[in-house]
């Protein structure tokens, strides 16, 4: 088996041609074996090599800290693996949309994000060519029949300041039988625009793939680039990047706790967390001038150093800021009226979470041991004592509590790293990527594991830049969480996942 799968480390580059080429049967068999044994699929995507489409799988071994790479040439169609492995259903749909590969026997063959073909010519696997009919008009919704069943359609423009998406509920009164979520409104053609890079725009574009995960994606990119160029970043740069990644996590987790409180009308936590979130955003701005950490992380290191005395002052302020979060969020968890709304609401059982391959806080709230900071670490995470926080309940409360607990751990980590910043430079030269190589980079962003799988062509330019936000897996989790719930609990369930629309739509 080992010779049929190439094992690499997170961020390590290999010759693209060294990735084993198997038959479709063998590749699917190995993917199925890994999933059956409790493993997961980090990516299953298409890339073209010498005019041939190679479906490439990234199978992480979370115990060994390695990534298994394998590929198979595919032409127009292949048998769908989704009935056996639900976790790959969306990957297969993406292959159909991007390369026209029809997954024969797929139980749910629908468009992913209404994008145009990336490779090949002619109509895509859904028979579409040229300009798209409007979504959601052009989407085959699942519909229930029955005199008293009714549909509720929400979006793409929602009530608040939120990204667009369409939600279609099949209801009986308040009771939700089924929720189907259609995305694609945010599609900007990011993967296509990255081909031919790196250019002066590459980093900014990646920071905008999901603007709330700017640090996460910039770091994931930088680590892939460093792998492709074969350089190590200085320890001080690695430390500052981790601080930024955790500040991004803190800002979002704290903001999410406030947003959850907003959705149940628990105003004290809503107001305080909304304001306290700014302490972490402002800390990022203090380091790099931008509240979302844009422009900080670059291949080779970081663009801004933090003098050690400023770092020590920042550590003190972060300690104080999180103690305020303890107060503000503590109110939410101690209040019977808020607990009444969140306990037992929107449950995703562990088996379901496992089958779907849920990631990040959503996966960990259902008991999955998924955290790339622990399973595929790089410095300073490999030598840190950051705990993997998991809960079993899989309900809204668990997804809220996970954020609180993780934020606490992140705050402690940030303070510790800031107080012991290694000396030295914060940037090393990062030469152009070597030609004909492939690197897969994993970073645990605040929503879960980000994947950048980058291949360079013979000219050293990006031939394929595959992006994956954890939301790619987790949107299905939200759909299943709603089954059997009341439709009035949708905002709460939605906020407890708080998934990325643009990260999914790319």
């Amino acid at each position: 088996m080992s010779s049929r799968i190439l094992q690499v480390k997170n961020g390590e580059a290999v010759e693209a041609r060294a990735v084993p080429r198997l038959s479709v049967d063998d590749l699917q068999g190995l993917v199925a074996d890994v999933v059956t044994a409790g493993g997961r699929v980090a990516a299953l995507y298409g890339r073209e090599e010498a005019g041939e489409l190679l479906v490439t799988a990234v199978l992480p071994n979370d115990r060994e800290g390695t990534l298994g790479l394998l590929s198979a040439p595919v032409t127009k169609e292949w048998p769908s693996l989704a009935p056996e492995c639900p976790a790959v259903q969306l990957f297969e749909r993406e292959l159909a949309e991007q390369y026209g590969v029809v997954p024969r026997g797929h139980p749910w063959p629908k468009p992913v994000r209404f994008e145009h073909r990336l490779g090949g010519a002619g109509p895509d696997a859904f028979g579409r060519e040229g300009p798209r009919a409007d979504i959601p008009g052009g989407y085959p919704f699942f519909a229930m029949e029955g005199e008293e069943v009714h549909e509720v359609a929400v979006g793409p423009v929602h009530a608040g300041i939120i990204e667009p998406g369409h939600f279609r509920f099949q209801c009986h009164g308040e009771h939700v039988f089924h929720l189907e979520i259609v995305l694609g409104y945010q599609h900007r053609g990011a993967e296509g625009m990255l081909v031919g890079g790196p250019t002066a725009r590459t980093v900014s574009l990646l920071e905008s793939v999901a603007g709330d995960t700017a640090v996460g994606n910039a770091l994931c990119h930088a680590r892939a680039m460093e792998g492709l160029a074969g350089v190590e970043v200085p320890p001080r740069a690695a430390a500052l990047r981790a601080v930024a990644l955790e500040l991004e996590r803190l800002a979002n987790h704290v903001g999410d706790l406030g947003a959850l409180a907003t959705d149940i009308g628990f105003l004290p936590t809503a107001s305080y967390c909304g304001a306290l979130r700014a302490d972490f955003l402002n800390a990022l701005a203090e380091i790099c001038g931008n509240r979302f950490g844009r422009g900080l992380v670059v291949p080779g290191g970081v663009r801004f150093d933090l003098p050690s005395d400023a770092a020590a002052r920042l550590a003190g302020r972060m300690e104080e800021a999180f103690s305020r979060v303890e107060d503000a969020a503590g109110l939410f968890f101690d209040s019977p009226s808020s607990r009444n709304r969140v306990d037992g609401t929107g449950v995703v059982p562990k088996e379901t979470a496992q089958a779907l391959g849920l990631l990040g806080p959503a996966g960990r709230a259902s008991g999955l041991q998924v955290d790339a900071r622990k399973t595929h670490p790089f410095e300073p995470y490999s030598s840190a004592t950051l705990p993997m926080v998991t809960l079993e309940a899989g309900d809204v409360h668990a997804r809220a509590r996970i954020r609180f607990d993780e934020a606490r751990a992140s705050a402690a980590f940030v303070v510790q790293v800031l107080r012991q910043l290694p000396e030295g430079p914060v940037r090393a030269p990062c030469p152009a990527p070597r030609p004909g190589r492939l690197a897969v980079s994993l970073v645990e962003g605040w929503r879960g594991e980000l994947v950048h799988a980058v291949t360079t062509g013979a000219d050293g330019r990006f031939a394929r830049y595959k992006l994956k936000d954890p939301s790619f897996h987790n949107w299905m989790g939200l759909q299943l969480a709603l089954r059997g719930e009341q439709i009035s609990d949708f905002p709460l369930c939605n906020k407890s996942f708080n998934l990325s629309y643009c990260g999914y739509d790319l």
């Binding site: 994000r113 209404f114 994008e115 145009h116 798209r132 409007d134 979504i135 793409p156 423009v157 009530a159 608040g160 300041i161 939120i162 990204e163 667009p164 409104y185 945010q186 599609h187 900007r188 053609g189 990011a190 296509g192 625009m193 002066a200 725009r201 900014s204 574009l205 905008s208 793939v209 999901a210 603007g211 709330d212 700017a214 004290p268 107001s271 305080y272 909304g274 304001a275 700014a278 402002n282 701005a285 203090e286 380091i287 790099c288 001038g289 931008n290 509240r291 979302f292 844009r294 422009g295 663009r303 801004f304 305020r324 107060d327 503000a328 109110l331 101690d334 629309y501 643009c502 739509d505």
Partner: protein, 274 residues
């Protein structure tokens, strides 16, 4: 209840002093750039070469400019310039009424002009806005949301984001306007009763930002809705909440001052007329 009150006391009032007092920014905050074209060396284009969004114009000439509508305020041009001709300062006042006014030259800011007297009378004390994210990355959306929180508290000026375009006096667009969201944006605009305003927030909505030239986007809100001009541009990637506040309040004629007072910790609009 006691714990709620205790927390309330501990956290105190969170609302910023702006516009009556200082709006504070960290030292490294990058606001409006000051340009000194006299320092440009003929033939040098290092700033333009590193710019992610082709925002720098006239590099190496006496007509050096930065299109704030394209600018991501990353500061790479300043870093690259060997002559110190570009300096991003902390002037957060970036909004403009026309696309041309967004092109910054020299070091004198062009500030957004207020609406005409009649529109000021209609919207000056109550402006309700509907936000449409048309492929925005959730950066601008997050900062627009932040303007409503207890810190920036847009509501104290009678400005509010509402749930339905039927309740709105204008539409705030973020994102480069994707093909897939074009219908949604147009329908939202059509559902908004006139008189109405169209406001573009962030580099993407103004010029496409990092997605300029994408085959599946429209390079922002300009021209996205047939025959509808943009009434206010608020640049940034994303714009700071105070930049958004400043743009909206200038549009409504509720902040007019032109003086800036620099302090150790931030910039103060000296005497904003309210």
């Amino acid at each position: 209840m006691i714990s709620i009150l205790r927390t309330r006391l501990r956290l105190g009032s969170q609302t910023i002093a702006y516009p009556d007092g200082p709006a504070r920014f960290p030292e490294r905050f990058r606001g409006r750039p000051a340009l000194d074209a006299a320092r440009c060396k003929a033939g040098c284009a290092e700033c333009a070469a590193v710019c992610p969004t082709e925002a720098v114009g006239g590099a190496g000439t006496s007509d050096l400019s930065i299109d704030l509508g394209r600018c991501l305020f990353c500061g790479l041009c300043q870093e690259a310039c060997p002559e110190g001709a570009i300096a991003f300062g902390r002037d957060y006042r970036l909004a403009a009424r026309t696309r041309e006014e967004l092109v910054a030259r020299g070091d004198v800011p062009l500030l957004a002009q207020a609406l005409g007297a009649e529109m000021q009378r209609v919207f000056g004390r109550s402006l309700k806005l509907r936000q449409v994210s048309a492929a925005g990355c959730n950066g601008c959306e997050a900062e627009l949301n932040a303007t409503g929180n207890v810190q920036f508290d847009l509501g104290r000026f009678g400005v509010q984001f509402v749930a339905s375009p039927r309740h709105a006096d204008g539409v705030v667009v973020t994102g480069p306007v994707s093909e897939n969201m074009l219908t949604g944006l147009r329908k939202t605009w059509e559902a908004t009763p006139a008189p109405r305003l169209l406001i573009a927030v962030g580099a993407c909505a103004i010029s496409g930002g990092p997605f300029a030239g994408s085959p599946v986007c429209r390079d922002g809100a300009v021209g996205a809705i047939d025959g509808v001009p943009v009434d206010l541009f608020i640049p940034g990637c994303p714009p700071h909440p105070v930049t958004i506040l400043d743009g909206l309040l200038r549009l409504l004629g509720r902040v007019q001052g032109n003086d800036l007072r620099l302090t150790g910790t931030g910039i103060v609009a000296a005497e904003p007329a309210r």
